[in-house]
């Protein structure tokens, strides 16, 4: 009846409209809170999982300390884990330096919307260690929590990060018109996406104006990024190349893949309905590998399949994927060292630049795949196509280098052996923090430019 409708309309949690502490939701939604707390569990799957392990371990991507040399990602880079750890992990990671900006907190804390409200565009570029983190801590923020996705009074799903809203506008999408099904992915796409810091304000920005595919994002950086003055994330210490770093493009990968195209949302797999507490049913708030919950995550739709079938099938897809990712990374390693040798052999600058162009592109193409967290599952064909392009680009770099090095009479067989030695040294080093140091030797001097003189 009408009064029932009216009471529905005015129904509210009774929380403040800018509540951001998870604990405030605990008594109102005990089942959800409990489900959320499951994110503390650390448990691995074959290619992913939630144990805080270095990405440099032998069963992951052992050559990353070479491939990211000169950048923070060569120092420390770990397997991601539960949402509850986000604040702790960003605080402790060695990638955070005294120069890090507020933007780094954007996807890690429930304090962010309020900080943006208070500080305006100054939030993004403010110092992380000195300004932003202390403020968030003083506020008693939570790591990724209820208020990031829900309106605290109505519990409606909502978008709290402006970067996503603006980026979707560049794609012609008004997120305020989103359907329920779309919101079940959009809330994730606030964070699980490729980004860069737009240089004027260090603002978190998503490079989507030309599309979601790796080629389209690359074209964005070459045109729009460069126009804005964003040339690179860092200069590679082995090849001296101005590089792009790719980050967790789960949304972009999924949207071009079989499930995204079919309208299956992130939440369908990562937040399936589950029966808790005897018999009450809720939307799971334990965001982790769906391989831990195949029955609920997959078999509802794939009811004709068994749990074992799903396991095997995903494993086949991921194994095919990882084999080729490792290949692409290996070719990329060689490319970097070949160009290092071009530099020390004082080869024609134009040729070095040409080879570096291929390196930049080649690495972008494997990194946008490696940084994605599903080991290919979110788009098996698309990620594989991207890896092909990577292999071709890196080989182009090697080819140009070979031509020039041969002209200078360099012994490329010796070069190859030396590269293999570097790879072995990095592989065999037990301490993940020291791995990157083995990438550089006398025969391969570092190419990081000296820091600019202090103003």
């Amino acid at each position: 009846g009408q009064t029932e409708e009216a009471s529905k309309q005015s129904k509210s949690t009774g929380l403040a409209k800018d509540e951001y502490r998870n604990e405030a939701f605990k008594d109102l939604f005990p089942l959800h809170y409990e489900s959320y707390m499951k994110n503390k569990k650390e448990e691995d799957t074959k290619y992913n999982g939630s144990v805080k392990r270095s990405k440099f371990e032998h069963d992951k991507e052992p050559y990353l300390p070479i491939l990211f040399n000169g950048f923070g990602f060569a120092t420390e880079y770990n397997e991601d884990r539960g949402h509850v750890y986000a604040a702790e992990d960003v605080r402790n990671i060695k990638r955070i330096t005294d120069k890090s900006v507020g933007s780094c907190l954007t996807c890690k804390s429930t304090a962010v919307p309020k900080l943006i409200e208070e500080m305006g565009d100054d939030y993004w570029g403010a110092n992380f260690n000195q300004v932003v983190w202390p403020k968030a801590e003083a506020m008693g923020h939570s790591p990724i929590g209820c208020s990031d996705c829900h309106d605290p009074q109505t519990m409606d799903l909502r978008i709290t990060r402006p970067s996503f809203i603006e980026a979707m506008k560049t794609r012609g999408v008004d997120v305020t018109k989103a359907t329920k099904n779309e919101m079940r992915s959009y809330v994730c796409a606030q964070c699980h996406v490729e980004y860069y810091f737009e240089p004027s304000k260090s603002k978190v920005t998503f490079p989507w104006a030309k599309g979601f595919k790796p080629e389209e994002m690359y074209a964005y950086y070459e045109e729009i990024g460069k126009q804005q003055g964003f040339e690179k994330d860092w200069i590679h210490n082995v090849s001296g190349t101005p590089m792009l770093k790719a980050q967790h493009p789960e949304f972009e990968t999924w949207i071009e893949g079989p499930h995204g195209k079919a309208g299956v949302s992130c939440s369908d797999c990562h937040m399936p309905y589950e029966r808790v507490n005897g018999k009450k049913k809720i939307t799971s708030h334990y965001w982790t590998s769906p391989l831990k919950t195949i029955e609920q995550s997959c078999l509802t739709c794939h009811a004709d399949k068994s749990e074992q079938w799903i396991k095997t099938r995903v494993d086949e897809i991921q194994t095919t994927h990882m084999e080729m990712l490792h290949k692409a990374e290996e070719v990329s390693v060689f490319a970097h060292y070949y160009v290092n040798k071009m530099i020390t052999a004082k080869v024609d600058e134009v040729k070095i630049k040409a080879a570096q162009e291929h390196i930049r592109k080649g690495q972008w193409y494997w990194d946008i795949v490696a940084a994605e967290n599903s080991a290919g599952f979110h788009n098996p064909q698309g990620t594989m196509a991207t890896l092909s392009k990577s292999i071709e680009e890196s080989n182009q770099a090697i080819l140009i280098a070979t031509e020039e090095l041969m002209k200078k009479g360099i012994d490329v067989d010796k070069l190859k052996k030396e590269i293999e030695e570097r790879m072995k040294a990095v592989y065999n080093e037990a301490d993940p923090f020291k791995k990157k140091d083995h990438a550089i030797t006398d025969s391969f001097p570092g190419q990081t430019p000296p820091p600019p003189a202090k103003k």
């Binding site: 369908d268 009450k280 509802t300 739709c301 009811a303």
Partner: protein
């Protein structure tokens, strides 16, 4: 007209008269219940796949029309039934050229079915409305017709000899 009718399968004729009976006279409880049953629906060979897949499903013990007819009021049920029934009969007799190549539930059908899922499973969806998608069966794709492969048990056994021969005139 009669000539055309008599050239039809006997089963179809029975069905035609049944529907005429339902629409034209006061239905008895028995005809109503028979016309809700899986046996009745599968009288039409084009309903075979729907029936076979259903029969092997978790819902084999409910009647077709527990899903396929509205249950909010007796009148609604009868009207929908007569309307749907007459379309089926029409297609199977006079309008056979226009029978769709593949059967799909109409939008009206889907709404009806969805309401029925909800009414049986009210308890399940109490805490969570399960309304993330337009229809329950957008997630529960295989309930009850096994959409993912649309294959019944017999596909996974050797085919008895001469089966194909016995279907020579089509099926």
């Amino acid at each position: 007209m009669w000539k055309k009718l008599f050239s039809l399968d006997k089963k179809v004729l029975v069905v035609v008269f049944l529907f005429v009976g339902i629409v034209g006279t006061v239905a008895t409880a028995e005809t109503l219940s028979y016309t809700d049953s899986p046996e009745f629906c599968s009288n039409c060979h084009i309903m075979n796949e729907a029936h076979d897949s259903f029969a092997a499903s978790t819902h084999a013990n409910v009647a077709c029309n527990d899903c396929h007819l509205p249950h909010d009021s007796a009148v609604n049920k009868l009207v929908f039934k007569a309307k749907a029934g007459m379309t089926h009969v029409y297609f199977n007799t006079l309008g056979s050229e226009k029978i769709p190549k593949v059967l799909h539930a109409t939008t009206a059908s889907k709404d009806v079915i969805n309401k029925n899922c909800i009414s049986c499973h009210e308890a399940t969806i109490q805490n969570v409305s399960h309304d993330a998608k337009e229809n329950c069966f957008d997630c529960h794709r295989d309930v009850p017709h096994g959409k993912a492969t649309f294959k019944t048990k017999e596909f996974y056994e050797p085919l008895p000899s001469r089966t194909l021969l016995n279907r020579k005139g089509g099926f």
